[in-house]
């Protein structure tokens, strides 16, 4: 028969076990922390920027007696005794503050997290300022700022989501929406926020943030593509204006090219083939500018092997064959003054402003030249957007924060988001009031054509299931064409065949 004695060792063991068990429970999330819940209403003041109203202005005509003396006769003329009422519509800017109750009646505290690809020291510092500002305005909120490089963003989002370790909000590329939206990965934008976005954002930005008729987040940065050219090189070659047609573009490229011993020293045009988006986005702009289409939106079948697309591929080949392009050149060669022109996005304004060898005043912006089967240049626009993870427990608080960060700070002022993008990156904000508030900053010769393109003439990048894979196939097949390994028609037939199979497979999945 064993007898248990209460020894000092047993007491220590029991104590230790108790500590371990408590720690284990805490580690497993079982520990219940009892907190006093204080329900507090968050009142937000949202400034309304502009109110259009009607005013009735009454114009009263004062009765006036005119006495005319004609010799001895006294004639009294009395003007018409009418009271003219003039009704006119006037647009008056009214500074009006509307008090809106937050959708969240928050308990003790809300801890939120955001994930972006803005990870440089300056960007992080600016975002910490923005988050401090929000936390001061909404004392119960605490926001953690997370960032990864853009190239790892998709990996971080998907792996984090799969592992259950995900932030509440993401700033993501609209090309990923077809993967996120149908699976319930991202939350759809609440109705009341959607109506605000519909009224205040450029249509191309809204289209870019939408998929299958639904809006998936706040459109943030808008990037359109236009022709960037070196004015000094154009002047030296006697070219007065940027090309507006493909014929003019090929001629300009030929005139601005300089070669020595068979090697191009100054390229008339730059096709940057190493990067998928930097190559495909301009190519799709040319396709549309030649009257072609990427995709049939009804059937979701690719239209990339139709005659306008084949002509677009052939145009690139012609440019290479006439000796105006060196496929080893990269965008930094434009910066250093060795390339006459290329099609680039507005975000390049930032690096060009500080690093263009010939001085930023020598950077010209022209339209996308129209092809022989097209009528006008069409610019592709792509977007990034702020979205909310569908699994977050802080959905309302997350939308509240996004609403705040995307709303003007005050009448006539920009939103924190717009301010950040324009100051840090020279990127054009999607919100129209931001474009107005930052008009001075965005009104130089470089930005003006891009803003005009975004507001009027751009089209959003086509997005459909499997878009990343299809884009990759298109990129590789066009590489084969431009390196002389394949013919345009054969290469584009292959894109359509493989691409349609991928779209179909993804649709079924």
């Amino acid at each position: 028969m064993s007898r248990k004695h209460l020894t000092r060792r047993r007491i220590i063991k029991a104590g230790a076990l108790g500590v371990v068990a408590t720690a284990a429970r805490a580690g497993c999330g079982e520990t219940q922390v009892v907190t006093e819940t204080k329900v507090q209403e968050i009142i937000k003041e949202v400034p309304v920027e502009k109110v259009v109203t009607q005013e009735v202005v009454k114009e009263v005509v004062v009765e006036k007696e005119v006495v005319v003396e004609v010799e001895k006769e006294k004639v009294v003329e009395v003007e018409v005794e009418t009271e003219r009422v003039v009704t006119q519509t006037v647009e008056v800017e009214v500074e009006k503050v509307v008090t809106v109750q937050s959708r969240v009646s928050r308990a003790e505290a809300v801890n939120l997290s955001v994930l972006t690809h803005w990870g440089s020291e300056q960007s992080v510092a600016l975002w910490h300022d923005i988050l401090d500002e929000y936390e001061a305005a909404v004392p119960n909120a605490r926001i953690e700022y997370q960032t990864v490089p853009g190239s790892q963003m998709l990996t971080r989002i998907t792996t984090g989501h799969a592992a259950g370790n995900f932030p509440d909000m993401y700033h993501y590329y609209n090309l990923w929406t077809p993967d996120f939206a149908p699976t319930g990965f991202m939350a759809e934008v609440p109705t009341e926020i959607k109506s605000v976005i519909d009224e205040n954002w450029a249509q191309s930005a809204i289209d870019g943030a939408s998929y299958r008729g639904k809006l998936w987040g706040y459109p943030t940065e808008s990037n359109a593509y236009l022709t960037l050219y070196n004015k000094r090189i154009f002047d030296e070659a006697g070219v007065d204006e940027p090309p507006t047609t493909w014929d003019e573009m090929l001629e300009t490229a030929a005139r601005t090219t300089k070669s020595s011993n068979g090697a191009i020293e100054q390229a008339g045009y730059l096709w940057f083939m190493a990067s998928t988006s930097a190559f495909i986005h301009p190519w799709i702009s040319y396709l549309w500018s030649n009257g072609g289409e990427y995709l049939d939106p009804g059937t979701l079948k690719l239209r990339l092997n139709e005659p306008p697309a084949v002509e677009t591929a052939q145009m690139g080949v012609d440019m290479i064959e006439q000796g105006s392009v060196d496929l080893a050149f990269r965008p930094p060669d434009f910066m250093s003054g060795n390339v006459a022109m290329f099609v680039g996005a507005n975000w390049r304004g930032g690096p060009l402003r500080t690093g263009f060898a010939d001085g930023f005043e020598n950077v010209g912006v022209g339209p996308i030249p129209a092809g022989p089967s097209g009528t006008a240049g069409v610019s592709l626009a792509y977007n990034w957007l702020w979205g909310v993870d569908s699994l977050t427990k802080n959905s309302d608080a997350s939308w509240d924060f996004l609403e705040w960060v995307n709303s003007p700070r005050g009448p006539g002022q920009a939103s924190p988001q717009g301010e950040f993008m324009s100051t840090r990156f020279n990127i054009i904000p999607s919100r129209l009031s931001d474009q107005e508030a930052l008009a001075e900053r965005l009104s130089d010769d470089f930005f003006r054509p891009f803003i005009q393109a975004i507001q009027e003439g751009s089209r959003p990048q086509p997005i459909m299931p499997g878009v990343s894979e299809v884009t990759d196939i298109l990129h590789k097949q066009l590489q084969a064409v431009y390196f002389g390994e394949s013919e345009p028609q054969a290469a584009l037939d292959k894109v359509v065949e493989d691409g349609n199979a991928i779209i179909e497979e993804r649709m079924q999945a």
Partner: protein
């Protein structure tokens, strides 16, 4: 059983339990971060999964991912071919050059330590920095083309050429990794007793004879280690093609791991990517076994 024996058994049992308790954290770590991911990845390779849908909703695909890769996916076959070419060149040329440099810096040359540091520096340089520097060196206006032009050789496209891109990446890889191999070889060479060389010299053996009959046989364990490690590393090449060429032009530098990465994280096909990783695992396993046998046979 005698009382003494019982006490011994009990003592031994207590020690076994204590031993297991000591290794338990390391074992748990190994199971959690080593074994479990491998088993999970194999499970995924038998499914279609995009990482966005919950794990419970993965669709079973059987061996479809494997059969697709082996029979239908021409890009996978091309990436395998590129990887084999890269591995063969990187291992053979890299080892040859590293051994030559190790022999040189192991002699009593002036500034021996300095030269060792010079050769080791590229290895401790980050891949990103290496990629940026070499992109510029290979540029049409870069240093290499300037040097070629001095010799009257026309400008080369290097990274923008379908034929030259992979050899260009191999060149960077050899330059980047050679410092590590040199250090290992130098350590191996310094383990060879000098008396052997002195005795051989007395017997009239020349430099080549001493290298062939003393250095090489005694360096074999080092050579084996370096060959295996270098082969495995080369088959897993990712960073340089990812950073410099993104697999282009026209897939000329697409390697298995780069294709695997794109398949998993750009195209969200986790099942197919996992199947690729297991095919690569089998290839590495087979090649390593062959290398072990080759070295054993020679012993």
């Amino acid at each position: 059983m005698l009382l003494g024996d019982r006490l011994k058994v009990r003592y031994a049992q207590r020690h076994v339990v204590t031993g297991y308790l000591f290794v338990a954290p390391a074992l748990a770590f190994l199971l959690l971060f080593g074994v479990f991911p491998i088993v999970f990845a194999f499970g995924i390779s038998l499914h279609n999964w995009n990482m966005v849908t919950p794990v419970s909703e993965m669709r079973f695909a059987g061996a479809d991912n494997y059969s697709h890769l082996i029979l239908d996916d021409s890009l996978f076959r091309k990436s395998l071919g590129n990887t084999f070419v890269f591995t063969a060149a990187n291992v053979l040329i890299g080892l040859g050059l590293a051994l030559s440099v190790a022999l040189l810096v192991n002699t009593r040359v002036k500034g021996r330590t300095f030269w060792r540091v010079v050769y080791f520096l590229p290895y401790v340089t980050s891949s990103v920095a290496v990629a940026i520097v070499w992109e510029n060196l290979y540029h049409p206006f870069g240093l290499l083309n300037r040097l070629l032009s001095l010799g009257g050789i026309p400008s080369q496209r290097f990274l923008a050429s379908v034929d030259q891109a992979l050899p260009s990446i191999i060149g960077v890889s050899i330059w980047h990794g050679m410092g590590y191999l040199v250090i290992i070889f130098v350590a191996g060479l310094q383990n060879i007793p000098l008396e052997y060389y002195e005795a051989a010299k007395v017997d009239g053996a020349g430099d080549w004879s001493r290298f062939r009959h003393i250095t090489m046989p005694l360096l074999k364990p080092t050579l084996f280690f370096v060959a295996v490690v270098s082969t495995i590393g080369s088959l897993q090449i990712f960073d340089l093609p990812f950073l410099i060429t993104e697999g282009g032009p026209i897939d000329a530098t697409e390697t298995v791991v780069l294709y695997l990465y794109d398949t998993a994280f750009t195209f969200a096909r986790m099942g197919r990517a996992s199947a690729m990783s297991f095919i690569l695992f089998v290839i590495i396993l087979v090649l390593t076994i062959i290398q072990i046998r080759l070295f054993r046979e020679r012993e």
